[in-house]
Amino acid sequence: MNKFTLIFAGIFLLQGCYDEPPFRPSFPAGVVEGYEPIYADASKADIAFEPAHQLREPGKIYLYGTLLLVNELYKGIHVFDNADPEHPVAVGFLRIPGNIDVAIRNDVLYADHLGDLVAIDVHDWQSPREISRLHQANWNLTLPPENMRYFACVETERGPVVGWRLTTLTNPKCFH
């Protein structure tokens, strides 16, 4: 029996040897890499078209006719005129706080905005016009973008969460 106990123990130890990130949390977590929520600046939480921004954290990309749309993670959409792919030209930036996903059809842009699914008429990008808004119960960015990560729990009294930042946390209480 002793021989088997040793082998069982050995296999259990090997089972625990996964690479970072951990796939099972242990609390208290100590000092670990994890996500913390980014809360909205209430004065700039609405949708607006702004002059072109530099790319900082590009997310998903989308092609629509001769336009190239590039999501800026949690911030909005860079709009490029890509008629000549050798020379894409920045047209501007559609600010949509919290945005991750976008689709476009018949000059109407569909995007997530602070937990809502909005439809925005963009036939004139300089003057976007919101035409419908539908709340989604669980889109409020209440969880970080990656699985198997510690994170600082969301404090809803601090406002809507518009994004997540990977940083060093001390004894985070949440894991997903």
Binding site: M1, F4, I7, F8, I11, Q15, Y18, D19, P21, F23, Q54, L55, R56, E57, P58, G59, K60, I61, Y62, L63, Y64, G65, L68, L69, V70, F80, N82, P85, E86, H87, P88, A90, I100, D101, V102, A103, I104, R105, N106, D107, V108, Y110, D112, L117, A119, D121, I131, S132, L134, Q136, A137, N138, W139, E146, N147, M148, R149
Partner: protein, 251 residues
């Protein structure tokens, strides 16, 4: 009895371990003049006539009105852990923590459940071309395991997907397919281009190590790639002479 039960218990334990290891590991919107073309998994997907959104454990179906606004039609319960949805061809692919569910869109306002592939899960990007699904299975922050792969799956029978071939990758992310060329993003390990003329025997055509590749959209001979170093565009009309066109840099 006493002599044999430890062996049986040990054997059963080994089999269980192996089974766990084996089982655990391993986009686009239709192109038309009306709709855009995206390359990634998202929480909503559109067809020419409807929008489908996943919201925790539910799917909401919306109709496009004449002015482009969306109007709710119905909602259905999908199950726990739903993360992503993508519409390709006449099907919806809904990714969860433990599987990819396939829904039929023959009746667009009422997606009908067809089958599940437990082979790959919601955080695994997948693209479909005709009867083939190409999917990258990534271990980092997606699932426990040790092997990152590209899998080619025959889905001509939606209820019986058949794995045709599998290839080891380094750190796969998004992918895109156009005709016989499959573009696979490998994060900081670059971009790989495969010829998929024979789905049982993919041939690596090009391996760009010096780009950071997170997602791609191939369209009509032009490729748009996004990654940590910026948006890079290529011309792939001649697969033996794929050339870079431009870069939009990151500040």
């Amino acid at each position: 009895m006493r002599g044999r039960s430890p062996y049986l218990a040990f054997a059963a334990f080994l089999i269980l371990l192996i089974a766990i290891h084996l089982s655990s590991c391993s986009e686009e919107a239709g192109e038309s003049s009306l709709t855009g073309k995206g390359g990634s998994l998202a929480r909503f997907a559109i067809s020419a006539t409807h929008l489908y959104a996943v919201d925790n454990d539910e799917m909401h179906v919306y109709q496009f009105m004449d002015d482009g606004s969306i109007s709710p039609i119905n909602s259905s319960y999908l199950g726990p852990g739903v993360e992503t949805i993508v519409a390709m061809g006449d099907k919806l692919y809904i990714g969860t923590n433990y599987s990819m569910m396939v829904y039929d869109l023959s009746s667009p306002s009422n997606p009908t459940y067809l089958s599940q592939y437990s082979h790959f899960v919601g955080c695994d990007p997948v693209v479909v071309q005709d009867t083939l699904a190409f999917v990258t299975l990534r271990t980092s922050s997606c699932r426990p395991g040790t092997v990152n792969t590209l899998d080619v799956v025959n889905i001509s029978d939606a209820k019986q997907p058949a794995l045709l071939s599998t290839y080891t990758l380094e750190s796969p992310y998004g992918l895109g397919v156009d005709g016989n060329l499959l573009f696979v993003c490998e994060g900081e390990n670059g971009l790989k281009v495969f010829d998929v003329s024979d789905p049982r025997n993919l041939v690596l055509v090009k391996d760009y190590q010096n780009v950071d590749a997170y997602d791609v959209i191939p369209r009509s001979g032009k490729l748009v790639l996004t990654g940590k170093r910026g948006i890079v565009q290529y011309d792939y009309t001649d697969q033996n002479n794929i050339r870079q066109l431009s870069t939009i840099t990151i500040q």
